[in-house]
Subunit: 357 residues, 2 copies
DNA sequence: TTGTACGCGTTATCAA
DNA sequence: TTGATAACGCGTACAA
């Protein structure tokens, strides 16, 4: 509350000009050892702290990047991406301003508005709620980077090759002898209103499931494909996966393997299996996606990991490149990969299954 | 990159002074309908955005509060608290600047340093890494609020009454007929170096366990009390609970109920039980603490919930009260409460147990 | 080697 | 009803 000391005050105490104080502060230019000592003493005794607001106003550079995320509480994925971005930003002397839009385009708009007023040097979208918000920033000439999903091709993005890891998962199932493989996943048509760009994530995962089936010589069974939302913001997470799995178990020929395209869905799948008194992977194998909840589930979930922190780190780097005017910032694509843990095992033999029944 | 329009420019275009523009911007004072229209037109065509940096410098009020958290990725608890604080801050026109210290006092120090330079109006600590950082801010006359744990009595805090919910959990176990109840929890002596204030959380939970035992007429069994860290920042979460539960199961008389004082520990407990081929709650009942992972585990975990978002909200309110100079900001204490789901059931009868063995 | 002085964009006081 | 003008705290070009 008592106002902090200013540079002017330090100068007055040391009996020099602000320019000289600034020289010792920045460590540039010539300063006699004598005056330097006096100034340093003054800085110490007054506990002087530079005012970042004034500096940023003067330099026209806020050293801040805004990071819009869906909702840090809805999916640990976002927390990890945010942390990756924060870490690398800090190293470059930047701070990140985090903002949760919680799925609301209106709220996102307000957040962006404040980012602009705050004169952030760039904005990261770890999934924009609305494409309009992204394009608005582009029009304002503010560097933008889209992480995980791109809403427009007019700004660079760092996305994940979802297919590579998903195909690995499918191959794993098939190698283990599974022939009745179900999918519990996000519906490209429902997620983000089926936007042609945003749905790429779901298209890739779903595509890999189907391609994996074909590659294994298995035919596609519509009853084994359960598509919907990942989770709803209102109710608790997991319910979607649970519901899908219940339906699958109630079907004529339940699958022996389930590929859930999100760990939160996988958690629900495990709950339904548990409730049915079945064991994983003895009766049914499960593979998830993301590697968020995976390590905490029982059994420890085999899952397709996304490089979450790296997404954040690369996102920041792309932003920095634009801030510094580097020519043509390109988009980046990172791989996903299968992490084998304990939820995927050999298909139960007919005898095993009979014994258990 | 092209610099944004300034108020001066708007004034020039509208052919008035900055003072007049400011009047219409703020909606105060007298402005003729005619000039108002001209000014509004100028604002619209130039897409003018006020510069928050300049405003804050001038007003000596950053409308920003810093929020130091342990690590938003280590425990979803922190993400929820952060979100609660952000939500209510936004409503009051404040923004929050989030900072993860990741358990490092040194990193926390740097974060604080930047908060000060940024002239944040207050700082929230959702668990400080070092008491020194809290006291430093107090000396700088910057309002501080401690959330979940207090490192010093010299600043207000919003904490949780851990005992009330924990006792409820113990009573629940006892009502269900359990007599062999184990604890898997944080060790007051290890957590935060056994600091007398910081360990209050663990003291309360552990105390409630013992008190609950006594209240149920049960004797305390040292073999049933497994204390340690919650999780380590390096390796994956959950391992601690898993290890503890393995030991418990290997003992002579395994417990029929386990109270884990953190959902992450509970997740590990469930993993060990699952691996042993036992069922929850049929063979063993489990209750967790926090209500973070709970909803996603199998079976859905009965747990003692902390009002996480409310912790954040109240934390901000306490900070705001200090900023506005309200007399004597008091500390606040919120209740915890048992949330019954599917992981706690009646103690298995001797016959049931024999049949299953 | 050191100092002067202006500008960054707002807010707000005081005159007109 | 409107306008000049002085801060806010820092950085820096230029002068001394």
């Amino acid at each position: 509350m008592t106002k902090p000391t200013t540079l002017i005050e330090v100068a007055r105490i040391a009996g020099v000009s602000t320019a000289t104080v600034n020289r010792v502060l920045k460590g540039v230019g010539y300063v006699s050892a004598d005056t330097r000592a006096r100034i340093e003493a003054a800085i110490k005794t007054t506990r002087y702290r530079p005012n970042a607001l004034a500096r940023e106003l003067r330099k026209q550079r806020s050293m801040t990047i805004g990071h819009v995320v869906s909702a840090i509480t809805a999916n640990p994925f976002f927390a990890s991406v945010a942390r990756g971005a924060e870490d690398v930003a800090l190293e470059s002397g930047f701070r990140t301003l985090l903002f949760n839009h919680n799925g609301s385009a209106e709220r996102e708009r307000q957040g962006i508005e404040r980012f602009i007023e705050r004169r952030v040097d760039a904005v990261l979208f770890t999934v924009a709620a609305s494409r309009a918000d992204v394009t608005m920033l582009i029009e304002e000439k503010i560097p933008v980077v889209q992480v995980e999903r791109a809403a427009t091709r007019d700004a660079p993005s760092v996305t994940v090759d979802n297919a590579v890891g998903a195909l690995e998962a499918m191959r794993h199932f098939i190698t283990l002898g599974h022939r009745r493989i179900a999918l519990v996943g996000g519906d490209p048509d429902q997620v983000y209103y089926g936007d042609p760009l945003m749905r790429a994530v779901e298209d890739e995962r779903l595509g890999a499931y189907r391609a994996g089936l074909a590659a294994g010589g298995l035919s596609w069974n519509p009853n084994y494909e359960r598509l919907g939302q990942y989770y709803r913001h209102e109710d608790g997470a997991g319910v979607q996966g649970y519901t899908h799995m219940r339906a699958l178990l109630a079907g004529a020929e339940p699958p022996t393997a389930v590929f859930a395209t999100c760990d939160i869905l996988a958690a629900g799948v495990l709950q339904a299996i548990y409730e049915a008194g079945l064991r994983v992977p003895d009766d049914i194998s499960v593979i998830g996606f993301d590697d968020t909840l995976a390590i905490n589930l029982a059994p420890r979930l085999t899952t397709v990991a996304q490089p979450m922190e790296e997404l954040g780190r690369e996102g920041f780097k792309l932003a920095l490149a634009q801030i510094e005017g580097d020519a043509e910032p390109r988009s980046i694509r990172l791989p996903s990969r299968l992490v084998r843990r304990d939820s995927a095992g050999p298909v139960p033999s007919a005898t095993t299954r009979r014994k258990r029944a």
